[in-house]
Symmetry: C2
Subunit: 197 residues, 2 copies
């Protein structure tokens, strides 16, 4: 109790994901997760508020990374440049060492409707954080909102591709390619804008 535990957070996360995968998310308990990790419940609670936070603890850091990168982009950067900078900055959270956890996390969420809702709310929050950061740079309201959604689509597409077992590319490369695909789609959707004007 209270002593320093090497890699406690990582061990707890891996133990939780293993238990969620084996017995289902609902059946897992904090005591069971701590036990599986060879740690105590009190160590668990020093790292996570509850078992759900094991799956969503990264949201705050991710929001901060995306937002900071947009705010730090040079004044000459276009809105699309800002989104690219945001995605590049997020890559620190998606290192090769963490890639094996992603398919497990995705499978747990896909199997539970409450967690799926939580994931949708996370996406809405990330979209809104990016839109806010763009507004703070002076991006016009409609473009800021659409850019927030486009950024989150690029992020979630990239995350799914990065997590795929056959993938060997780093997150940044995948994310920038997803962003370019979405920009091409945006061009398609923007065309014929005056047909019904």
């Amino acid at each position: 109790m209270g002593r320093w535990e090497p890699n406690a957070r990582d061990r707890l996360e891996r133990a939780a994901l293993a238990l969620f995968a084996e017995n289902g998310y609902d059946a897992a308990t904090v005591a069971g997760i701590a036990d599986r990790a060879g740690l105590t419940k009190s160590t668990f609670f020093r790292h996570f508020a509850d078992k759900r936070e094991v799956l969503f603890a990264g949201q705050g850091m991710l929001a901060e990374l995306l937002s900071s990168a947009i705010r730090a982009a040079p004044p000459s950067a276009t809105t699309a440049d800002c989104l690219a900078a945001a995605l590049e900055s997020a890559a620190v959270a998606f290192t090769p060492e963490r890639r094996d956890l992603a398919p497990q996390r995705r499978a747990v969420i896909a199997a539970n409707s409450e967690l799926q809702e939580r994931e949708l709310l996370k996406r809405a929050r990330l979209s809104s954080v990016m839109a806010d950061a763009l507004r703070a740079r002076g991006t016009e309201e409609t473009t800021a909102r659409l850019a927030g959604e486009l950024g989150v689509l690029a992020f979630s597409t990239a995350y799914a591709r990065w997590a795929a077992p056959e993938n060997r590319q780093p997150f940044t490369q995948i994310a920038l390619a997803a962003l370019r695909d979405l920009q091409a789609s945006a061009t398609t959707l923007g065309a014929n804008a005056d047909v019904r004007a």
Copy 2:
């Protein structure tokens, strides 16, 4: 009990919104809503599953309208044309007679974080319904997903403008204008798509 009540659904909806506004959403009860409407609890439950459904009962119909309009669009329609058809079809749910309820509904949701989450999930569902309908027409995956988000942004922007006290325009006109604004933003975001390629 059991007899036909004229406009029961509308009376229940207005009574619920009035109570939510006066005492807060959490304090309102089904019995109180029915009483305020001069109806019984069993009449309430013939129309709504619970008090939250008074605020979100339209979601299923709206999803159906948006989806059907996209599926019914002629083969020559562009993706943007499909979104315009979807928004036009939604207008039947946003008649002048219902406009005075909208600001109350928005205020109730804005004051309650659980309802805000529910509203975000509603938007995610509508986006996904439009993307599915576009995929069924053969729209490419990335464009379908982005179009779903763009459609929902157009819808939510239009709803907010339509609900504004100073507004006198019909929903369709507002929604198509919002769509055109978003298409212009999409063009902006699509530009420079190859800068980092």
